[in-house]
Symmetry: C2
Subunit: 365 residues, 2 copies
Amino acid sequence: MRFQPALDKIPAYEAGKPIELVVREYGISPEKVLKLASNENPYGVSPKVSEVIKEAVYKMPLYPDDSYKALKDALAKTHGVDAKNVIQGNGSDQIFDFATRSILSPGDKILQNGKTFSMYSIYAGQCGAETIQTNSELHDLDQFLDLYKKHSPKIIFICTPCNPIGDALDQSDVYTFLQKISPDTMIVLDAAYMEFGKTRDPKKEVQASDIISKFPNVLYTNTFSKIYGLGGMRIGYGIASEEMIRAFYKLRPPFNVSQLSQLAAATALSDREFVENYLKSNLKEMIRYEEFAKKKGLFYFESYANFITIKLDQAKLDSTQTFETLLKEGIILRNLKSYGLNALRITIGRPEQNDRVLERLSELL
Amino acid sequence: MRFQPALDKIPAYEAGKPIELVVREYGISPEKVLKLASNENPYGVSPKVSEVIKEAVYKMPLYPDDSYKALKDALAKTHGVDAKNVIQGNGSDQIFDFATRSILSPGDKILQNGKTFSMYSIYAGQCGAETIQTNSELHDLDQFLDLYKKHSPKIIFICTPCNPIGDALDQSDVYTFLQKISPDTMIVLDAAYMEFGKTRDPKKEVQASDIISKFPNVLYTNTFSKIYGLGGMRIGYGIASEEMIRAFYKLRPPFNVSQLSQLAAATALSDREFVENYLKSNLKEMIRYEEFAKKKGLFYFESYANFITIKLDQAKLDSTQTFETLLKEGIILRNLKSYGLNALRITIGRPEQNDRVLERLSELL
């Protein structure tokens, strides 16, 4: 059987190691495993959400309301847009999938940052498109502009704050850049970590309602996996012009988000206090990691997200070795070797979790 | 912005009306709404699954184990295959999506029955492929063979038992047909309703392990939405050769099934008693609808699934009108007008649910 030739070139996505794997492979009991590898919410999920889901298990047999009205109305209200500007996804991943498939053909190009979320390129590759990227670690918009002019990409991905580095662009710089881009080029603005960014510095805030009204070629994406603590429930969303949303709907499978996931997400939006407490703790604990790195003389990227990326001294330590040493002890961090960085990315945990990590890192680094 | 031209031709999928919509539009209280429109399990879900999910809400923040080892091992054991022959999907819908995208290019063709699940054609359309179909209501394999020779489709979809008619092929007829098809043509065997079919007539049973070992070009698909009562949880799977599964994995987004969904599915497999009781009740209650139709002199299709399709007398009644009359009373059935049939498809409910439907149909038909 001959499969699409484009499939040959697609690399596999490397996810953070799950707790189950460490339990299986190293025989560590689950309660001793500490996973700070996938930027999940260390406080879990709002207790309101847990209660609602426990009471809603009787809904599991029923297909969801395929209009997702309750969820889309709640998102529209949260973001000050119309429900017609919103589409829900099985994770924001599915929104990237809609975006790439709606517009890319074999031979087309996308443009992205040198270090960024690896799925953009994988989805583009599934469409037979080529990925052009800057050679910088931080988003360098001058370089983006040069590459845009040279390659005429169909989509430009901007991730701010950006995973796996944690840097964020000022809103004013994003807008200045967008003014130079043709309205026929789609801009995907991945705002998965936006709330962390604006908590640290209000200049970093890019609002969905404002950006899509000024730039109708922008697709704003966000997720319930981070501040809302619903990574396991697979739910994200896109906000864009009605025209773009209509095109994505042509690619949306029916019932693309589970009954319990949409309910968990809509409920999560109603507990702002849970989110605010997490954002406060995240910033406070981030400073501890920064101080640790400074004390050790290690380079770290100033982070506007819920993780910090610390480079190791190449002459002394290899990030893969350090990662594996910790893994065997039940501490799961993210090794960034596959991103070309001799660095570890650490999700900012709860204070006692960070105590454990910082203690071991003090000994190892 | 110029979207893919293929998108222009894609029709929207028409789902069964959700309870929420009837509540919204007709002001009927949810507990008075009876939905027998989407072939959901009228007994809900196994109590074991409900218990496990209530206790697992703390897992919502964590991304699933992306290897889905526990679920795939359970499915492999159930079907007597290796876990390497299994891929999980966000509904079996996602497996159809993998299948079409792995092999179809613009201009290619798929072949399917005249009346069948509408998503095959929609997914093929997203790839720019054309749908060839028989002109018969029941699967007519001679006609399939003629069209196969004439059009050289890249994929042949066989749905047995078939939605929305309920007919099923004998295993021996399927095998005889497959012997005449090139191993380069992918065969998707959609077995969503297989357990209902084999309960009514063992000759209808097609086993995943047997068919994929004899015909490596077959993709066997199944779902947790029907006998296991997990329609709202969006989980299905495909069983095929390792080569085919590997190709699909290139298109699989990470974490494609939610944490709670994979847990619900793995647990559902362990409660066989729940399934057996449902299968027994389904067959018993099916007979009541058949007797009703006979008494009224209405044509019905003998069904090997958990629904029955009854044709209305075109001279006297229009299925759309009858459907709407019932909808306003809070009874949701499926109008098959969009399939070109003046017929209603009724999911077989629990005895007391069928009492309500049969009573009203007696008055109306």
